[in-house]
């Protein structure tokens, strides 16, 4: 087995430690592990490949420059990177400076996301939950999530009351949680 193969099986925490020590190979392994999810969410938000590539580059460069921003208490690394990618993509979409530092992002994810199989299983459950969700709820959630619209903007676009939009967005997120916790 080559050293690259060995690195490919290394846990995230070991790779982060290696990155802190300046190990560029460890960075490449993490990129291979999580670039698809980081790129996919950025592309979904921005709808344009070169802009999504810029977000992809930015997210991993932030990790390289500041690997100490992530520790195990911040959640699973892939999930953490995915949320940062979404937030950076929304910032780019709305043409604003990054509103939050990567160190601000702390998340807890109940399901086990360590293996690729685990991540695929969770993704399938979440997609199923989105399909089953009432259309107005899914629309409100997706407008907030993928377009970064405020509840005021969504209410103006849909003609629904503000309170209804707020309720639908939260209910949508909670529905996803229930789905992946099953």
């Amino acid at each position: 087995m080559s050293s690259t193969d060995l690195k490919a099986t290394s846990p995230d925490t070991a790779l982060i430690s290696a990155i802190r020590a300046g190990d560029q190979t460890a960075m490449a392994v993490l990129y291979d592990r999580y670039s698809s999810v980081v790129y996919s969410v950025a592309l979904r938000v921005l709808g344009e490949t070169s802009a999504a590539e810029d977000v992809l580059q930015d997210v991993f460069l932030q990790l390289w420059r500041n690997p100490g921003a992530f520790d195990a208490s911040r959640g699973h690394l892939g999930a953490w990177l995915a949320v940062i990618s979404r937030n950076r993509a929304i910032d780019a979409l709305r043409k604003r400076k990054p509103e939050s530092d990567i160190e601000d992002v702390v998340l807890s994810v109940a399901p086990d996301l360590v293996s690729e199989a685990d991540r695929s299983r969770v993704a399938a459950k979440v997609r199923a939950a989105l399909v089953m969700m009432p259309a107005p709820q899914r629309t409100a959630l997706e407008m907030a999530y993928y377009e970064g619209l405020t509840h005021t903007e969504i209410a103006a676009k849909t003609g629904e009351p503000l309170g209804t939009i707020k309720t639908r967005i939260r209910a949508g997120l909670i529905a996803l949680r229930k789905a992946f916790q099953e």
């Binding site: 300046g22 460890a26 670039s35 998340l107 994810v109 997120l173």
Partner: protein, 258 residues
Amino acid sequence: MSGHEQFAEDLALHALGTLQGDERARLEAHLESCAGCREELSALRGDMAALAMSTAGPKPPQRSRQRLLDAIANEPRLPAAVPGRRSRFNWWAALGWAAAVAMLVVVIQLRRENYFLRESVVNLGALTTPQTLELANAQRVVDTLTAPETQTVTLAASKNPEPQGKAFYLKNRSGLVFVANHLAPLPPDKIYELWLIPSSGAPIPAGLFKPDAKGNATVVNPPGLPAGVEAKTFAVTLESASGPHDAPRGTGVMQGAA
């Protein structure tokens, strides 16, 4: 919902980054003092992560990988040590282990720093979160070096020249500061790794590091160290730089019982 019900919907909007104005300011003020709502915010971000990870799409083009690798190759970093903290300890390492008095000076200085940090935390409640996190990290370093319950472990090797290490470990906050000197230069493709060997269970990786030209190195609060682990021994091994680094496989360099 582990937080307050009246903030439930605003928490969801805040997780999404779409809460604005007074509502956002009011919620952020509440979050400062409500662990339950902070926990719920983390859970909502976990929900966001699940949605992000379910987003299907093509793989990024191969050029993106090369672009990243080129970029990080142009941003080489000194290994292991945290900038700023390294300079704090270099002079101390240079004085050598015999300078116990110097250590006392450091402790006094850090206690003063601790006092001023506490003052700062109390008085500057409006600090931005990154600043707060940096202060918290600095506080953890200070606590690790000054708390009465901190375990101080000296590691020594049996051969000359004798590398030495000192570990300051605050188990309940997973605080660990490790300082070493007289380390031999690393052979090609090798790296030093620090281990926390618990009273029971497998050794826990506690950081990879490379010595500087004078043989000095520091490790400060390595990521992923679980809190509350009872340490039996700290040890340093010489490992393959390419890993894996999840369990000791290389040769022992030094160790010390806690």
